[in-house]
């Protein structure tokens, strides 16, 4: 962690994880490159970050903090479609800035980095996703991941033996049209021969076209990136912190979501369980390294981790203990040990997992639940972790303001006592009456004060 490491009195390697985390929290509290619009904005920023930090540390802040489930709501709120903000960066900016302006009293705001640039998806000819106007209706409000066996059952050895070779020459041609010619690439790790590296491969016209296109798309990416950065910086300058520094995931999910698909992985759990374990064990240190490297460039040490295939309906407790948890746990511990705050988002239901996941250092992880019973979560996990959640999306989208407020009150009563709780929705919201989001802020103000 570049900056914290410089400032720290003690050597980074000699610090406890709590000390490292304090250094990262300091950086989050005083971000170097943010020019606040006013003293007031700066004061608010610090108060809000402090609120989150206290909740993370399972202490009582001034009140329960709230992460508004803003999803892609800013587009709806600004009167444009999701497709519009994917393709029109000016509209992306306008809608996000409007949201920032109108929801100034929120505790945090996400930047628009998860609104993928449509022109780039088109240019890459992405095969494993649908998006509005591309496989989905123009009015659709989300992407759809297209699951499949992008990796065949007998390819584990090849994947494990040289993961990046597999990525380049097998996976990329299957997942993006622009890389179709990469199946013609020679192995990049050439141990022999003329030492011209990739250059001879670039004599192939198809491969040249792919590279030229990447360069062109790289320029487009810069344009999009500039807007995302500007908007995210504006939110910070207005005093609205970000509660998601970076993103990572669980090793098993990488394999199940991206490579083998639900069907493939289900069969593998019976037919070749040892291959699954060999792969997740091999990929774990790489994912850890990549995550820590990414986080070192960020002010916010909270790492959002959407989880998929470990939920109650997908696998048994025994399978979770065998395939999912050991490597994911390793990853969490490694992140904690670097002073990061893993922020897993347990999509689906985690009722059966609650006990198993208590096996963590106190206050190391912040667990965000989608449909898990929060009362039970507080009872079982509440002594170990800060928990986050989970006003049902159905209520936020279709309910009245009173209903939303009532749901928040109940959650705060169940989960708030003693600290270690952050109010949020069960999932990101795309369209809803704006007052239902405001109701959540009102609820924490009214019911969430600690005395």
């Amino acid at each position: 962690m570049a900056r914290a490491k410089e400032n720290a009195m003690k050597k980074w390697e000699e610090m406890t994880w709590q000390e490292k985390r304090e250094e990262r929290f300091k950086r989050w509290l005083s971000p170097k490159n943010v020019k606040f619009v006013s003293r007031e904005a700066e004061k608010l920023y610090k108060a809000r970050v402090t609120r989150f930090i206290k909740a993370i540390k399972m202490e009582e802040p001034d009140r329960v903090p709230c992460i508004l489930p803003m999803g892609y709501f800013p587009a709806y709120y600004a009167g444009v479609t999701f497709r519009t903000i994917m393709y029109d960066y000016a509209e992306l900016k306008r809608s996000w800035l409007k949201f920032i302006h109108d929801f100034k009293d929120a505790d945090s705001v996400n930047g628009p980095a998860l609104v993928m640039p449509g022109r780039i998806l088109d240019g890459l000819d992405i095969k494993n996703m649908k998006w509005p106007g591309h496989g989905l209706g123009e009015e659709a409000w989300y992407y759809q991941f297209i699951e499949g066996e992008y990796m065949k059952a007998d390819e584990y050895d090849r994947l494990i033996r040289d993961p990046s070779d597999y990525t380049f020459r097998v996976n990329l041609p299957r997942t993006a049209g622009i890389f179709a010619s990469f199946d013609k690439l020679p192995p990049l790790r050439s141990l022999q021969g003329n030492r011209l590296g990739l250059v001879p491969a670039l004599a192939d016209p198809d491969i040249r076209r792919a590279f030229q296109k990447m360069i062109d798309l790289g320029k487009e990416y810069q344009k999009w990136q500039a807007v995302v950065t500007e908007v995210s910086q504006t939110a910070l300058a207005e005093g609205l912190p970000n509660m998601r520094g970076g993103m990572a995931g669980a090793p098993f999910d990488t394999l199940a979501d991206m490579l083998r698909g639900t069907q493939g992985i289900s069969v593998d759990m019976f037919r070749q369980p040892e291959k699954i374990i060999a792969y997740v064990e091999a990929i774990t240190p790489q994912m850890i390294e990549q995550t820590i490297q990414m986080a070192d460039n960020l002010d916010c040490p909270v790492i959002s981790m959407p989880l998929h295939k470990g939920d109650d309906v997908f696998m048994s407790d025994k399978q979770f203990g065998k395939f999912y948890w050991p490597t994911y746990r390793k990853m969490l511990l490694a992140m904690i040990n670097e002073g990061l705050v893993p922020f897993p988002f347990a999509e689906g239901k985690y009722n059966n997992r609650l006990k198993q996941i208590t096996d963590m250092p106190k206050s190391g992880v912040v667990w965000y639940f989608d449909q898990t019973d929060m009362k039970e979560a507080k009872r079982i996990l509440g002594n170990v972790s800060c928990i986050v959640g989970n006003v049902p999306s159905s209520i936020i989208v279709t309910g009245t303001k009173q209903l939303v407020k009532e749901s928040c009150r109940k959650l705060i009563e169940d989960c708030g006592p003693g600290g270690g709780y952050i109010l949020s929705g069960g999932a990101g919201i795309d369209k809803c009456p704006p007052e239902n989001l405001r109701a959540m802020m009102e609820a924490v103000e009214e019911y969430g004060r600690y005395k």
Binding site: M116, I120, L121, L124, I126, N128, Y150, R161, D162, P163, S164, D165, Y166, T167, F168, N171, L172, T175, A176, F179, P186, P187, L188, R189, S190, L191, Q192, G193, N194, R195, L196, G197, L198, V199, P200, A201, L202, A203, R208, F211, M214, I215, L217, G218, K219, Y221, Q222, Q225, T254, D257, M258, L259, A282, I283, Q286, E289, Q290, T291, Q293, M294
Partner: protein, 446 residues
């Protein structure tokens, strides 16, 4: 070979047979004349016989041609590295002037210097670029291209290691690749790769590589003609690809001599682990190259396993186990490894003789060929090793006499290819003719 049905069910011997058939039939080649075709088949048959330890009509010969055609045509290495047309013309002139040879290959090992300059290649010096204009060879620049504590990177994800750690050090133009993120954790989300391509330095690295790619297109278009013309004229290529020993790859390319010597004492287990890791990769790579070649012979220049570099104990511990696996891996695919043991391999003969019969061709530089015939020759073919000093400075009579002795020692019973101990770059063409004459005069089996 994908073209052969049931390839997976064939034994190594049957696979070798299939590859020999392809070499012999040269699919897709339209010979200049029926005579050229006849000669081609006779020449390939001669090599196949030697590999199979059969006598055939006579001892085949691999002339130590090296970069000689450049000088023969009045150019030098520097000229033909920069001028592809002159390169092609020189090689074709030599081929046409010389007449009967058992094999002739394209100048594939002459790298296109303009491409090297464009990428700011650092691993070689070449005439006019680090060594004198008149030097007849390039000089490999050894170094610690990977550090003592970087073995694990190579072991965990070889391609990632190559792309982001090694390549940025081997050429100036590749340096920005060090800024790429590790791509594997993003598998399945191709858009994440693209964030790196927004980086201007990486964009410019790609552009430079594409520019060098243009040069490769030009170069291969012009020089590729040599191989095609030679085949049509009836000269088979002896080698269909190149490979090597995992230990050499770690030493030559990665750690350098000094580095590897330290490692043999300080972290021997890392060398072994890394060599084991790259072994299947080396096999895959050679097999893939051979798919596109006519000849199944894989030449394997060997460096650091010779007597002066390591003890027999070290050879058996560090060098041979992974190399043996590579050899067996190639043999299993029906390929014929042709290790070229540079330096002195006399103490290694017993160890290396442990190989399936008629599956490999050992090419020696400094060697007691009678001993080699006795030990290795029992089960496999050998080739070598007329001293290059005689080739370069001796008279044609000296050459012929040296060849005669070699043939008398090594030829009986078959399994021998006459050749020199290394390539001749400058010298007298009469000495090459003398060698060819010796094979025809003394090498006939009765």
């Amino acid at each position: 070979m994908e073209s052969v049905k049931n390839w997976k069910e064939l034994t190594p011997r049957q696979r070798q047979e299939e590859r020999f058939k392809r070499w012999l039939n040269a699919p897709g080649v339209r010979f200049d004349s029926p005579e050229a075709k006849k000669q081609y088949r006779a020449r390939v048959t001669r090599f196949i016989n030697a590999i199979r330890l059969e006598e055939g009509d006579r001892v085949p010969c691999m002339l130590p041609v090296g970069y000689f055609p450049a000088y023969y045509a009045g150019y030098d290495l520097k000229t033909v590295m920069y001028d592809y047309v002159k390169q092609r013309d020189a090689w074709l002139k030599f081929m046409r002037d010389f007449g009967d040879m058992d094999s002739f290959s394209s100048p594939g090992l002459i790298l296109p210097a303009p491409a090297l300059e464009i990428i700011d290649h650092k691993m070689h010096k070449w005439p006019g670029h680090g060594v004198g204009d008149d030097v007849a060879m390039y000089q490999f620049v050894e170094g610690e291209y990977i550090k003592a504590d970087e073995y694990d990177k190579l072991i965990k994800d070889p391609t990632d290691f190559w792309l982001r750690t090694f390549m940025p050090r081997e050429a100036g133009a590749f340096a920005p690749l060090a800024d790429l993120p590790h791509l594997t954790p993003f598998i399945g989300i191709p858009i994440f790769y693209l964030s790196a391509f927004g980086n201007r330095a990486i964009q410019s690295a790609l552009k430079t590589m594409m520019k060098a790619g243009n040069e490769i297109v030009k170069w291969s278009k012009i020089t590729g003609e040599v191989a095609r013309t030679a085949m049509k004229a009836g000269y088979p290529p002896l080698s269909g690809g190149m490979s090597g020993a995992p230990f050499d790859m770690l030493t030559d390319m990665c750690r350098g001599t000094t580095g590897i010597i330290m490692d043999m004492f300080r972290q021997p287990e890392k060398i072994i682990e890394a060599a084991d890791r790259i072994t299947p990769i080396v096999v895959d790579e050679a097999v893939k190259v051979a798919e596109n070649s006519i000849s199944p012979v894989i030449i394997m220049p060997l460096h650091k396993g010779d007597k002066t570099f390591m003890s027999q104990q070290q050879f058996e511990k560090f060098y041979w186990p992974s190399f043996k696996k590579v050899l067996l891996g190639l043999i299993n695919e029906g390929l014929v490894p042709m290790p070229f043991a540079e330096g002195n391999y006399i103490p290694r003969l017993e160890t290396i003789s442990d190989m399936p019969r008629a599956s490999i061709m050992w090419y020696f530089e400094y060697m007691d060929m009678a001993l080699a015939k006795k030990i290795v020759g029992k089960t496999n073919g050998i080739m070598g090793n007329l001293p290059i000093s005689i080739m370069a400075t001796g008279t044609p009579e000296d050459v012929k006499e040296g060849c005669r002795k070699l043939i008398e020692t090594c030829a009986p019973g078959g399994g021998y290819i006459l050749s020199a101990a290394a390539s001749m770059d400058k010298g007298n063409v009469a000495n090459l003719h003398a060698m060819m004459d010796a094979a025809k005069e003394y090498g006939v089996y009765k």
